[in-house]
């Protein structure tokens, strides 16, 4: 019984219909949360007593950093599932997730280094966490570039799935080795602050904003996946009738 559900879910047509129903809800919720979280954080919270107003970047930085990491893990697991059970939809999902993850990873890096300037006095340090984030960006870019380089989308997504799985094995190794690298050599001059026992008035907008980012990610992921499904399945009768009905 479980398996039939699994199979139904992996059918592009079922997924297209289903995601069509969820899409508006997710979208409205995502934009609502982001708008609330960001305006709240930007305009209504008091400044941090140590970092002043620059801490307002946290409402962008933490959600995007956390998303960047979650998306990669999700992507790699999807790739594994797709490869082992030969699910086309999973391959498509991998190639759709890569650019989204890359954009959030870049955002985390950019906001982080903008934040670093007023607080640490430098845009960049070779700290373990920062460096592993940079490497994660490269992994993402590799996936995006590989996907772009292939001509056929089928081949591209199969290739991306292999690379993502290799990455899955490597992510913990990279993480571990980078942490180790930095503690072995002399410690970095500046350590990133541990999560401060945050005041509630800052924590709530942060949580709202995190939720908003995750929902937004889901929203754009669905948008991308739907576009991908249409372009891959354009020959099938259901897409034809769908497009025919539209135009």
């Amino acid at each position: 019984m479980k398996w039939t559900f699994f199979h139904r879910m992996s059918s592009p047509k079922w997924f297209y219909d289903f995601s069509g129903k969820c899409l508006p809800w997710v979208g409205v919720l995502a934009l609502g949360c982001i708008a609330t979280g960001l305006t709240w954080g930007l305009l209504f919270t008091p400044p941090d007593y140590l970092q002043g107003n620059s801490y307002r970047i946290i409402f962008l930085h933490v959600p995007s950093a956390s998303l960047a990491m979650t998306v990669y893990v999700g992507l790699a697991i999807t790739a594994g599932i797709g490869y082992i059970w030969k699910i086309k939809l999973a391959d498509m999902a991998v190639s759709c997730l890569a650019p989204i993850g890359a954009s959030f990873c870049a955002l985390a890096l950019i906001t982080g280094s903008i934040w670093g300037k007023p607080t640490w006095g430098t845009w960049w340090v070779w700290d373990a966490r920062l460096t592993s984030m940079l490497i994660l960006l490269f992994l993402y870019l590799g996936l995006v570039a590989l996907r772009e380089a292939f001509d056929s989308k089928e081949t591209a997504s199969r290739a991306c799935a292999i690379l993502a799985m290799v990455g899955l094995v490597n992510i913990p190794i990279i993480k571990f080795s980078v942490d180790w690298w930095n503690t072995l050599h002399q410690g970095a001059t500046i350590k990133m602050t541990e999560r401060p026992s945050m005041a509630l008035e800052m924590l709530v907008p942060l949580l709202v904003s995190i939720a908003g980012f995750y929902l937004f990610c889901l929203f754009v992921f669905l948008l991308r996946l739907r576009a991908e499904i249409i372009s891959r399945e354009q020959r099938t009768s259901w897409v034809r009738s769908l497009l025919g009905a539209k135009s």
Binding site: F44, P47, I57, P99, S103, V220, R226, A227, Q234
Partner: protein, 67 residues
């Protein structure tokens, strides 16, 4: 609102440029994410239309040859 004036909101006690730059970039990333799938969908529609045209041309050519 926490800030007393627009000026204060913009400068944020010296941290304005950093915060606003970060938010600007953040916003543009969100917008980019929102728009690429839409453009992609449009491109797919174009491609489908082109394919239809190609099929038609091929058909016409064959008919011409058939005669």
């Amino acid at each position: 609102m926490y800030f007393d004036s627009i000026y204060e909101l913009l400068t944020m006690g010296g941290h304005g440029p950093y915060v606003w730059a970060a938010y600007g970039i953040g916003l543009s990333v969100l917008v980019w994410n929102l728009f690429t799938p839409i453009f992609q969908g449009r491109k797919t529609a174009d491609a489908i239309r082109r394919n239809a045209r190609r099929e038609q041309l091929r058909h016409e050519q064959l008919q011409r040859e058939g005669r």
